[in-house]
C-alpha cells in the first residue's frame, strides 16, 4: 500500500512537470498579455519597456527555469488581473467550483442509480422508454444551451430561482464560503448544479442500466431468484454491487471532465468559481493564472484517479492494491 502511494506520488510529480512545460510552451501562442494590460493608444516603446519589466522578452528557457524555481517554493506567479499570487486566486475560487461539482455529483448519484436500476429491470415499461429517450436528449444538448434555457424558464418566465451568481454565501473557514447553509445559497446553486449534472446524468443512467442488465443474466442472480430472495435484495444488494466497478472507473474519469464542464456552466451562471476564472484568464491573456490553473487541475486529476484506484480495493476485494505497487 505504502509503496503504491510512493509510486503514484512520483508519477504525479512527473505529470505536473509535463503539464507545466506544455502550459508554458503554449502560452506564447495565447496572445500578448500587454494588450490587455494597457490602453489601445499606448506606444510600442512603452509596451516594450513594460515587457522588459515583466521579463517577457527573456528566452523561453530562462523564463521556464525561473518559473520552476519559484514554483518549487510554492509561488506559481502573480496574476496580472487579480494582482495576487495565482495560486491564492485559484484557492479562493476553488470552493465555489467544488461545491458546484458536489451539488452536481449528488444529483447524478441520487438519480442515476434508481433510474438505471429501474430501466434495467423493467426495460419494456413506458417510463423506461421515456427515461431512455430523455437521456439521449440530455447527452446531445450542449450544457450551455441547457443552462440558458433553464435560466429563461425558471428565472425570467416563472421567476422562481435567481439567474446568476452565488447569492448570500456563509463563511465557513479560510477561503471556504458555502452555499449550503442559507436558503438563498440553495436557491442559487440549484440551477447550475442541475445544468452541470445534465450532461453526466444520462451517461450514468445508461451505464448502470447496461451493466445491470448484464449482471441480471448471470447465474448467481438466477440462483438467488430461485432461492426466493426478495427481489429488492437481489437488485440493490447483490446485483448493484457487481455493476459498480465499471461505474466507479468511468466516474473517476468523469469527475475530472466535470471540472472541465464547470468552465461552461460557471460562465453562463456567472458563478465565481475557477472555471469561469480560467475562461476570463484566457480572454485576458493572464498567462501566470492560466499556467497555475492547468497545474492545479492536473493535480486534481491525479488525486481523483488515485482515490478511484483505492476505492477499487474496497469495492472489489480481488483487486490487490499492494500488488499494484510492486
Amino acid at each position: 500500500m505504502f509503496a503504491y502511494l510512493v509510486k503514484r506520488a512520483i508519477q504525479a510529480v512527473a505529470v505536473m512537470f509535463a503539464i507545466s512545460l506544455i502550459a508554458f510552451a503554449i502560452q506564447g501562442n495565447l496572445g500578448d498579455p500587454l494588450r490587455e494590460l494597457v490602453g489601445q493608444s499606448v506606444s510600442e516603446e512603452v509596451r516594450q519597456q513594460l515587457r522588459d519589466e515583466l521579463g517577457l522578452n527573456d528566452p523561453f528557457l530562462t523564463q521556464y527555469l525561473r518559473f520552476v524555481g519559484n514554483a518549487l517554493q510554492g509561488d506559481l506567479g502573480t496574476s496580472y488581473f487579480f494582482k495576487e499570487p495565482a495560486l491564492e486566486v485559484i484557492l479562493k475560487k476553488l470552493p465555489a467550483t467544488l461545491e458546484l461539482v458536489l451539488g452536481a455529483t449528488v444529483i447524478i448519484i441520487g438519480f442515476s442509480v434508481p433510474l438505471g436500476v429501474y430501466t434495467a429491470i423493467r426495460p419494456d415499461a413506458v417510463l423506461s422508454r421515456v427515461i431512455m429517450a430523455l437521456s439521449i436528449l440530455g447527452i446531445s444538448v450542449p450544457v450551455f444551451l441547457t443552462a440558458i434555457m433553464m435560466i429563461f424558464v425558471f428565472s425570467v418566465e416563472w421567476g422562481w430561482l435567481p439567474s446568476f451568481g452565488r447569492g448570500d454565501v456563509v463563511h465557513v473557514w479560510g477561503y471556504w464560503e458555502t452555499n449550503f447553509l442559507s436558503l438563498d445559497g440553495w436557491e442559487h446553486i440549484l440551477l447550475p448544479s442541475v445544468a452541470l449534472a445534465s450532461i453526466m446524468l444520462p451517461l450514468f443512467v445508461r451505464l448502470i442500466r447496461a451493466e445491470m442488465m448484464e449482471v441480471l443474466q448471470s447465474e448467481y442472480v438466477r440462483y438467488a431468484k430461485a432461492k426466493g430472495i426478495a427481489p429488492w435484495r437481489i437488485y440493490f444488494i447483490h446485483a448493484l454491487k457487481n455493476t459498480l466497478l465499471p461505474v466507479i472507473t468511468v466516474g473517476g474519469v468523469q469527475i475530472g471532465t466535470m471540472v472541465a464542464y464547470t468552465i461552461l456552466t460557471e460562465t453562463v451562471f456567472q458563478w465565481p468559481g475557477m472555471g469561469f476564472m480560467f475562461l476570463e484568464a484566457v480572454n485576458r491573456v493572464d498567462t501566470p493564472l492560466i499556467v497555475a490553473y492547468l497545474i492545479v487541475v492536473g493535480f486534481i486529476f491525479v488525486v481523483t484517479n488515485t482515490i478511484v484506484d483505492l476505492i477499487y480495493g474496497l469495492v472489489n476485494p480481488t483487486v490487490n492494491i499492494a500488488r499494484m505497487g510492486a
Partner: protein, 519 residues
C-alpha cells in the same frame, strides 16, 4: 400643481427622515466586466473611466450633447495662447476628510505623467502652475485646441492620502501595472460614491458619500452594487427576472426582447466607435490604386450590414468621425453601388479580380466575425476572392501588429473625442518616432492629410480647425484610405423608474451620482 406636489413630497420625506423610516435606495448594476483596478491611472479603459466618474470628479466633464460642464473647475478662461486658467470650486472635501485644493490637481498631474496609459493624452501639457489654493494654470508647449477635452481625464486624487509609504515600505503613489499597489486597492476621491466592498470579478459595492459637494444634483441613490456578468444572455436574463436594475451593454440579439418586456426600458444612443477595414498597400499591389480601394468601398453594402447583422444597432458610416465631431461632414456619405464598383475594377485593370487574405477578431467588436464574413462575400461580387480568418482578440492583436493579412479589421474610439485622433492612429503615415499610424495596417500615407492634422493640432480657432479636419477627412474619403463600416451604437437596459436615460452618454460612462430613482 407640480410645485405643490413636490412640496408635499419634500414634506413627507422630511417627516420620514425625522422618524427614521427613511428607506435606502439601493440599485444593482450589471456590466460585462468590472474595473481592473481602483487606481484611476493604471489602465485607460472604459471600465476605469466608469469607476473614476463614480468615485472621483474630473475638472470638467462631457454632457449628453458633447458639451463641457464644470465639475471640480467652476469656470475657466484662456490666459494666453498656451495657458488655460481653471478656477476650482471651494469647500470640497475628499472622502478621507482632507480638503481639496489646487495642489491636489498639481500632484495628480505629475502622477499622470508617470502613467504609461495616460501620459500620451497629456503629452502636449508641460506643467500645472498653482496660482493660489483654488486656481491653476494648465500650460502647453504649443497652442493646443483640446485642453478641455483632456481636462475630462483629470480626476483629482487626494494627494495627502496617496503620499507616504505603506506598512511594507512601498510608495503609496506608485502606479503598478501588474501586482499589488496601494492605489489599486485604496481610494480617496471627491466623487459621489465610496467603494466599501470589492471582490474582483464578483462585485463592487458603492455607498453614497455624505459630504458630496454637488448638493444641486438630484441624485438619490444610496447604494450601488456592481456585478460583472460576462455572458450576454445571462445579463439580459438577470434584468428581465428582476435580479438587477440596470445592465450594459444590451446585445443586439436581445434589443427587441428588452424593448418589449414589461417593466424594463431600453435606452440606445449612437456611439462613437468606428468599425473599419484597412487595405494593406505593402502586401497587395492593387491596393495602391485608389480606384481599387474605391471599388471595394462601393462593393460593400454598409447599410445591409447594419440592418441585417447589427439589427439596426449601428449608424452607417462614410468616414471615421461621427456626427458631433469637428471632422464630420454630411458630404461624406456612405458609398454603395455595385455597378460602379465593377466599372472601377475594370478601369484599374482588375476586371478579373484577385485574391486577398483577410483577418478579423471574433470577440472584440459587436458581431465582428459575422461582419467580416459578410464583407468577404460582398467582395466576391467584384471578383475579389477573400481567404478569411477570424480569431479571438488575444491572438488578433499580435497578428495585427505583424500586419499579417491583406485586409484587417479595426475599430477605433478616439480617447480625445476628437477627429484628429482617428487619423493619427489609423491613417497617418506610419512613423515609429512620433508614433503616428500605430494602427495603420494599410500603410496609407498622404502628406497633405498629415499636414492638415498637424495644423489642426495646434489650431485653437474652432472654425479654422473644423475646416482643416473636414478637409482632412475629405482626402481620406476621396482616396478611400480605408473602408468605414459603421459606428457601433450603445444600449443600456433599465428597470422602470430608474430614469437612466438622463445619466447615460455616448462616451458610455453613466453619471450615477446624478441618477434619480423614482418609486
Amino acid at each position: 400643481m407640480q410645485k405643490l406636489m413636490s412640496r408635499v413630497a419634500a414634506a413627507a420625506m422630511a417627516a420620514a427622515l425625522s422618524t427614521g423610516a427613511f428607506a435606502e435606495t439601493s440599485i444593482k448594476v450589471a456590466y460585462d466586466a468590472d474595473p481592473v483596478s481602483l487606481d484611476p491611472y493604471e489602465q485607460l479603459s472604459g471600465g476605469t473611466l466608469q469607476l473614476s466618474h463614480m468615485v472621483f470628479d474630473p475638472l470638467v466633464r462631457w454632457t449628453q450633447d458633447l458639451q463641457f460642464e464644470g465639475r471640480l473647475a467652476d469656470s475657466w478662461e484662456q490666459v494666453d495662447a498656451t495657458t488655460m486658467r481653471f478656477h476650482l470650486r471651494k469647500g470640497i472635501k475628499f472622502h478621507s476628510g482632507n480638503a481639496f485644493t489646487a495642489k491636489d490637481v498639481d500632484w495628480t498631474f505629475d502622477r499622470i505623467k508617470e502613467s504609461a496609459d495616460f501620459k500620451g493624452i497629456f503629452a502636449p501639457f508641460t506643467d500645472v502652475v498653482v496660482v493660489d489654493d483654488h486656481t491653476i494654470d494648465l500650460k502647453t508647449a504649443e497652442p493646443f485646441p483640446l485642453v478641455l477635452h483632456t481636462a475630462t481625464y483629470l480626476f483629482a486624487m487626494d494627494s495627502a492620502y496617496y503620499s507616504g509609504t505603506t506598512a511594507e515600505g512601498a510608495d503609496k503613489s506608485e502606479i503598478v501595472k501588474h501586482g499589488d499597489s496601494f492605489a489599486s486597492r485604496n481610494m480617496s476621491g471627491t466623487g459621489p460614491f465610496i467603494v466599501t466592498e470589492r471582490e474582483q470579478g464578483v462585485k463592487v459595492v458603492f455607498d453614497r458619500y455624505d459630504g458630496y459637494w454637488d448638493t444641486a444634483s438630484a441624485g438619490n441613490v444610496d447604494e450601488i452594487i456592481l456585478t460583472p456578468i460576462k455572458e450576454d444572455p445571462t445579463r439580459v436574463a438577470a434584468l428581465l427576472s428582476g435580479d438587477v436594475d440596470f445592465i450594459a451593454p444590451v446585445p443586439p440579439t436581445d434589443l427587441k426582447r428588452v424593448e418589449g418586456a414589461d417593466g424594463v426600458n431600453l435606452i440606445t444612443m449612437p456611439g462613437t466607435r468606428i468599425i473599419t477595414f484597412q487595405m494593406n498597400q505593402n502586401r497587395v499591389e492593387a491596393f495602391k490604386d485608389p480606384k481599387v480601394r474605391l471599388a471595394i468601398d462601393y462593393a460593400i453594402n454598409n447599410q445591409g450590414i447594419v440592418d441585417r447583422i447589427m439589427r439596426g444597432f449601428g449608424t452607417v458610416a462614410g468616414q471615421a468621425s461621427p456626427a458631433g465631431y469637428l471632422g464630420y461632414s454630411g458630404d461624406y456619405a456612405p458609398r454603395f453601388d455595385l455597378a460602379r464598383a465593377k466599372e472601377l475594377m475594370s478601369e484599374a485593370g482588375y476586371a478579373d479580380g484577385f485574391s486577398v487574405t483577410m483577418m478579423a477578431p471574433n470577440n472584440r467588436y459587436v458581431n465582428d466575425d459575422k461582419i467580416a464574413q459578410a464583407v468577404a462575400s460582398m467582395l466576391s461580387q467584384i471578383n475579389i476572392t477573400v481567404d478569411l480568418q477570424t480569431m479571438p482578440k488575444a491572438q488578433y492583436w499580435p497578428t495585427f501588429d505583424e500586419r499579417a493579412a491583406d485586409m484587417m479589421m479595426i475599430g477605433w474610439h478616439a480617447d480625445t473625442e476628437d477627429s484628429a485622433n482617428f487619423h493619427q492612429f489609423l491613417t497617418a503615415c506610419p512613423n515609429a518616432d512620433n508614433g503616428n499610424g500605430q494602427y495603420n495596417s494599410g500603410s496609407f500615407c498622404n502628406e497633405a492629410a498629415d499636414k492638415l492634422m498637424d495644423a489642426a493640432n495646434t489650431e485653437t480657432d474652432v472654425a479654422k480647425r473644423t475646416e482643416a479636419l473636414q478637409k482632412l477627412e475629405g482626402i481620406l474619403y476621396d482616396e478611400a484610405a480605408f473602408i468605414p463600416l459603421h459606428w457601433q451604437n450603445l444600449a443600456w437596459g433599465a428597470k422602470d423608474g430608474m430614469n437612466a436615460g438622463e445619466i447615460v452618454n455616448a462616451l458610455n460612462f453613466p453619471y450615477f451620482g446624478d441618477l434619480v430613482v423614482s418609486e
